[in-house]
Symmetry: C2
Amino acid sequence: MAYKVPIGISNKHLHLSEQALAALFGEGYKLTPYKELVQPGQYAAHEQVDIIGPKGSFKNIRIIGPTRPQTQVEVSLTDARALGIEPPVRESGKLQGSPGVRLVGPKGEVELESGAIVALRHIHLSPEQAREAGLQDKDLVDVKTSGKRPLIFEDVLIRSGEGHFREFHIDTDEANAAGIANNDEAEIIRKKN
Amino acid sequence: MAYKVPIGISNKHLHLSEQALAALFGEGYKLTPYKELVQPGQYAAHEQVDIIGPKGSFKNIRIIGPTRPQTQVEVSLTDARALGIEPPVRESGKLQGSPGVRLVGPKGEVELESGAIVALRHIHLSPEQAREAGLQDKDLVDVKTSGKRPLIFEDVLIRSGEGHFREFHIDTDEANAAGIANNDEAEIIRKKN
């Protein structure tokens, strides 16, 4: 097979619960969309917070809206080293046993007990795109990039359903290792399972 | 084919010319070996310098000895962004047109006109190891890693000759993308050319 997918590079960012949003920005606060993302309904918010780890910190980290049931902080392994935490490589939402960090907003702070992960690379496909590619949710595929440092990413997770749209999500370490930029194309070269 | 190679992860570091060593540490100064490296005759030196770019800087960056004909600064693309430079992905020694940085040592400073590169990933093999693997200097191979985030690195350069010993050199971005640690093993799975 050979199915092309645009690449979306995730810089460090976070998703907030309603409760964390209220603690950081004040009771009843609503996020302001700054830029729509490729995934339907999701947006980079105008709002930013600081992330504090035991060793280092990052200022002005972008919040991705809308709010979610759990607060989740997504960093690269490079970022994790700077913060002084050891987050697992995980699917979004699977936060059990992950390390916490401190979040600092304009109106308050939140000390997370868990929630920091390195996002497991994955491909979003709409139900129709998945049919077109002969794939379904939870399939694993090998994906080839053609940047200055060509790579094959093995065992990339397919996530398909309503609310998904064709995009290969990797983090900044993976993008740098492949020598690629946002909107470069990758190619699904085989299905694994 | 399936030939195993231990992985050596290069953090940012630099090689100094005799002239730069004298300017940074004083006339007649000699590097002090701190730790021997896998490549015969090479060592991490006790000495460190600061690297200053147009946007950011790094303190206490390790010098690799012995001195070389040209000063060369090796950083990851993540480091390059923090410094505010755009170095090419290059073989060691091929510095033409690469950006410069400022080096600050205990006895002086050096403003490099060029010399900063992102090292092109490569495998060192002794002449005997190359024969054993059926490879020779300048061959390109595909290399598979088996960390938490399995990858195939395509078109990896073989460097063989006296002064080389079996080791797959990648930078911190590549190591993080593959989820591997120093001394993990990679496998050469095919020859390309």
